[in-house]
């Protein structure tokens, strides 16, 4: 049982829910950019939530070698042997293609996903054949996912790094998500957040969803492949409930941060 990659444009990788327990070795968790959408695709294909599936940041064309049930996000489809399917991210930043049984990839460092920064796995390239796994069949209702561009943040912790009113600036006007964004960092363009003059950069632990501010004042939101330590101060961190929503906003679109209590 296999799936042939006919064409891969942009970044298409096998992803699961990421690796835990290796951050002290400077290995970030990685995993799907939007775990909620991965779970929806997996449940729609009758897979367990963490089954390895394909994350598409761009476009992917696959051809089935045998009849197989697949799901693109929440839409199921029976793909006949020899039939081609095109999966495009577009409305959202990423789309997930799940295959009944999951994509068979070796378990390395407690995960199956591609982690580019650690050279574990590699982007999909045509022509390539992907083996289909034997994940147990499940029947769970896919969770709901609500798109949105209002993203809640929790202030800090590097309050002393910014001039007074930094958080108010961050939440005052929309930011645009730049196309140069990747799985390491999502670059934003909008109001410049000025630094406190006395602040000196120091290498500190980082977290997915941290909004760090380089010297140019344009925020970067750390994604699944973020370095585990970094030198830029963190003005706020995206609330865990809104992380998937943030990372699903299409490149080029505008979004806005809202301070949580």
């Amino acid at each position: 049982m296999s799936l042939h990659v006919v064409r891969a444009v942009g970044l298409c990788t096998v992803q699961d829910l990421g690796r835990r327990g290796h951050m002290h070795e400077a290995v970030p968790p990685g995993g799907a950019l939007v775990p909620e959408l991965l779970a929806i695709a997996n449940r729609t294909a009758n897979n367990p939530d963490p089954a390895p599936a394909i994350e598409v940041l761009g476009q992917l064309v696959v051809r089935a070698a045998t009849d197989v049930l697949v799901a693109v996000d929440g839409v199921p489809r029976l793909l006949r042997a020899g039939e081609e399917l095109t999966v495009s991210s577009g409305g959202r930043r990423c789309a997930y293609l799940a295959v009944r049984g999951g994509i068979a990839t070796p378990r390395v460092l407690d995960g199956h996903g591609t982690l580019l920064c650690a050279e574990l796995g590699a982007p999909l390239r045509a022509p390539e054949s992907l083996a289909i796994g034997a994940a147990p069949e499940t029947h769970a209702t896919p969770p709901a996912f609500t798109d949105g561009t209002e993203i809640h943040v929790i202030a800090g912790p590097d309050h002393d790094a910014f001039a007074a009113g930094g958080l108010a600036l961050l939440t005052s006007a929309p930011y645009r998500i730049l196309p140069s964004s990747d799985r390491v960092g999502t670059r934003l363009a909008g109001a410049v957040i000025p630094r406190a003059p006395a602040y000196r950069d120091a290498s500190r632990p980082m977290v997915r969803g941290a909004i760090e501010v380089p010297r140019d004042g344009q925020p970067i939101v750390l994604g699944p492949e973020h370095p585990t330590t970094g030198g830029y101060p963190i003005i706020a961190v995206i609330a865990s409930a809104d992380l998937g929503r943030f990372f699903s906003i299409a490149l080029g679109k505008a979004m806005r941060f809202i301070a949580s209590r």
Partner: protein, 192 residues
């Protein structure tokens, strides 16, 4: 004492304990899935809203060393880095003296960060301690042996980098499917 790092992690000052003792103690806290030890701060990552027990954090100051003994690692290196001349000028030492000084110390992996398997090793001779490059290089080859501030390190992967390259490691990969070659607490010696 602990600060919120979002709603799934906390950050607090690094206690005066070895990094590996901190990691093994913090990983035993309820709900903790990951730990990062940086130079001055530690972060604990949770699978739920963090429960912060100040007593737990205070107890880290006398956390036990893990039972596994500290490992001794010897790495073969060649001192032929592109920054040797610059380091020589900045330190008023000859290239051979730099190699000799660097290879004469025993280093300890004090923290890991920046890239998977990137180990910050303390123990660098004061005469070799220089600030990072003004402008980082866009590409440093994998296996490059470098120094900056009070640390020495080896780049596990090709990446941008602002440290001074004094050589390269030979015969080993610093990171592969088994994980990093160097771990917190390792005692490391360089043989040229």
């Amino acid at each position: 004492m602990a600060e919120r790092l979002g709603d799934r992690a906390i950050r607090f000052p690094r206690p005066q304990t070895s990094a590996r003792a901190i990691v093994s103690a913090v990983r035993a806290w309820p709900g903790v899935v990951d730990v990062v030890v940086a130079r001055d701060t530690v972060a604990a990552y949770f699978d739920r809203e963090p429960q912060i027990d100040p007593a737990n954090i205070a107890a880290l100051a006398c956390a036990n060393e893990p039972v596994e003994p500290v490992r001794d690692v010897e790495l073969r290196v060649i001192y032929d880095g592109v920054d040797l001349e610059h380091v020589a000028r900045a330190t008023s030492l000859g290239a051979r003296d730099i190699a000799k000084l660097h290879a004469s110390a025993t280093y300890v992996v004090e923290m890991m960060g920046f890239a998977p398997g990137f180990a910050y090793m303390s123990g660098l001779d004061e005469r070799l301690q220089l600030p990072r490059r003004e402008t980082p290089r866009e590409r440093v080859p994998a296996g490059s042996l470098a120094i900056a501030d009070a640390f020495t390190a080896i780049y596990p992967f090709e990446s941008p980098g602002g440290w001074h390259i004094i050589g390269r490691v030979v015969g080993v990969r610093m990171f592969d499917a088994r994980g990093p070659l160097l771990r917190l607490g390792d005692r490391v010696r360089f043989v040229s």
